[in-house]
């Protein structure tokens, strides 16, 4: 039944091709067939991802919400300039965004290392349990992560503070949630805790795709455990790692709203107010859609630019790119 179905599909496209275009080379016929197969999906992507971009016109007008297009007043780049107007914290916000993203990039090998470490565990049951449990933090919403943190680290009766005080290791309680100097480190550590287990999954899957015969051959050559990691495991998952790294570089300006929104307060604002929370507070909170659309558009275009550069750079260094 499967063969007939496949035959029908191929026949149909072949027939329609022949009918519509007359004589073509086999290669061209094949190419058109391929395009037809993928076409519905491309149209789909167009509808759901590209069509909404028409809404970017909102960034160039003094957007009167709900009024028809004809009634909107064109203002050019006014809202793009607004972010540079020097008011308030934009330079600060940009700095925070880049620093936190930079730290995140530096930590991107951690899930890889974790996956490799996991692969070295002798007991399969333990390995599975560790893998499952380490992905738990991913399921805890950021609001709850904050509540948890507060329960553990608040200065009044946070469990960790109480414990350390009882063990006479502290005279004054730690105020981790209000610590501006260490805010970047703390946020990065929290990010690692939350995402390592979950991010490692793709690398674990990648390791499943490595040909076991490679390991056998290495054994024959007398390779040690460490050497096998360096020469087989890591190269096996490197492609995935680099692809994700490039995508992450392009994502520098999009830190992720939720984490920084819940941890922001009067004491840490200067350090962890990032672009997304800034735009939300200034834009959507006060119904300024033109402004937030302009910022969103700028971020999108910058991301695409970063993606292209990171890709070129990768091609220079590694000889391959994701495209």
């Amino acid at each position: 039944m499967i063969h007939i179905k496949q035959l029908n599909l191929e026949k149909k496209s072949e027939i329609s091709v022949a009918v519509l275009h007359g004589k073509l080379t086999d290669k061209q016929k094949n190419g058109i067939k391929m395009l037809l197969l993928i076409l519905p999906f491309l149209v789909f992507i167009f509808i759901f991802s590209y069509l909404p971009l028409a809404g970017w016109w909102m960034a160039f007008v003094d957007y009167k919400i709900g009024a028809p297009f004809s009634k909107q007043k064109f203002v050019g780049l006014k809202y793009f300039q607004m972010m540079f107007s020097g008011v308030g914290s934009f330079p600060l916000v940009l700095r925070n965004t880049l620093v936190l993203s930079g730290l995140g990039l530096l930590c991107s090998p951690i899930p890889v290392i974790f996956a490799v470490m996991l692969s070295k565990v002798r007991n399969g049951k333990i390995a599975k349990i560790v893998q499952t449990v380490t992905s738990f933090p991913n399921f805890i919403s950021w609001v709850l992560v904050y509540a948890l943190f507060f329960a553990l680290f608040n200065t009044n009766d946070g469990a960790v503070n109480v414990l350390l005080a009882r063990m006479h290791l502290l005279s004054t309680p730690l105020n981790i949630l209000g610590d501006a100097d260490r805010a970047w480190t703390i946020q990065t550590l929290i990010g690692i805790w939350k995402s390592t287990g979950w991010s490692a999954i793709i690398y674990i899957a990648g390791m499943s795709g490595i040909d076991p015969e490679l390991y056998d051959a290495a054994d024959v050559d007398g390779a040690g455990s460490f050497q096998k990691i360096i020469h087989i495991t890591i190269p096996g998952i490197m492609p995935t790692f680099f692809v994700l790294l490039i995508l992450q570089i392009a994502n520098i300006l999009n830190n992720g709203f939720d984490q920084y929104w819940v941890f922001q307060n009067a004491l840490t604002m200067d350090k962890i107010n990032v672009l997304d929370t800034y735009i939300y507070r200034i834009g959507i909170g006060s119904l300024q859609y033109s402004f937030s659309t302009a910022m969103g558009m700028a971020k999108s275009l910058i991301s695409i630019l970063l993606l292209t550069f990171a890709n070129r750079f990768s091609k220079l260094i590694r000889g391959t790119s994701i495209f």
Partner: protein, 297 residues
């Protein structure tokens, strides 16, 4: 297979490795455990601090969910959207990923650019809302499964994985006369089980946790999802100033035994428990890679 002698140094490294992993596991385990025990503790106990076992055991947070008449229906809808949405998404993403790996696809590079760029392009809420409304996805179950069908992220992951499959396999299949669809179903999918398991897990969790599409575009209570119900329950018990004004005075002599934190804990439990139940089934498909360590040292 030649077995190497395991030296003392290896044992030490192994021990250190295991120790670090166990430590990290504990740090990951305790928070969820903490949430679990708090979800069964009274509001007063939570304020005092619950760290080991539930105090003043209560199921009041969970019972507040039962007050929603369409709860069972919502569970059904959530399950359906997870199953259907994930299946569609995995199939579509995997197929597109495969197509993009084929060198005989014209404009292959351009198409891949076209797909990957979507990850960074967004025009915000209002255009999205207008689009969904115009194509008739308001108050429609398809809203839950159609827009997420093609995920650039999934496509990137699968494509990278497929590229590690030796091309000789595909070539010999073609020589045998297999068409694209056949190769896809009989060769690519079986060989890509680990990455497919991955994106299935990612996709399913994403579907299970979604509620914003429900919030914005669905007013028919028969189409409400479980996650949305949880969100509504949360909102109606918030203690911020705005809502304090608007809390309906329910004549309670013991006001608000339902504290916000306890409710959030219960919500997490309700959301995470089904995932934990189903997770091991998918895990065995991608976890082969770390199992090798157990055998091969």
């Amino acid at each position: 297979m030649i077995k190497r002698k395991v030296s003392a140094k290896d044992h030490l490294l192994s021990g250190v490795n295991l120790f670090i992993l166990i430590l990290f596991t504990f740090i990951c385990f305790y928070p969820l455990y903490f949430i679990f025990i708090n979800a069964f503790s009274s509001g007063d106990a939570i304020t005092r601090g619950v760290y080991f076992i539930p105090q003043e055991f209560t199921t009041i947070y969970f019972r507040s969910l039962l007050l929603y008449p369409n709860l069972l229906n919502a569970i059904f809808i959530s399950t359906m959207r997870t199953v259907i949405g994930t299946t569609l998404s995995v199939l579509a993403s995997t197929f597109v990923a495969y197509m993009v790996t084929r060198k005989d696809l014209p404009f292959r590079k351009g198409i891949y650019h076209y797909i990957v760029f979507t990850m960074y392009l967004s025009a915000g809420l209002i255009p999205w809302y207008i689009l969904m409304k115009s194509i008739g996805l308001k108050n429609n179950f398809l809203l839950y499964v159609l827009p997420g069908m093609i995920s650039a992220w999934n496509i990137v992951l699968v494509k990278t994985y497929i590229e590690s499959i030796p091309p000789s396999l595909e070539e010999s299949a073609e020589i045998d006369g297999a068409g694209i669809i056949t190769i896809f179903f009989k060769l690519i999918i079986p060989l890509s089980i680990p990455v497919i398991a991955c994106i299935t897990v990612f996709g399913a969790v994403g579907q299970w946790n979604s509620w914003t599409d429900n919030f914005y575009l669905v007013s028919n209570p028969k189409l409400d999802t479980l996650q949305y119900l949880l969100y509504k329950c949360m909102q109606s018990h918030m203690t911020n100033v705005q809502n304090s004004f608007q809390q309906q005075d329910l004549g309670a002599s013991a006001k608000n035994q339902i504290t916000a934190t306890g409710l959030q804990d219960a919500m997490t439990v309700v959301t995470v428990l089904p995932i934990l139940v189903v997770y091991p089934f998918m895990q065995r498909y991608f976890v082969k890679g770390i199992m090798l360590g157990a055998v091969k040292g």
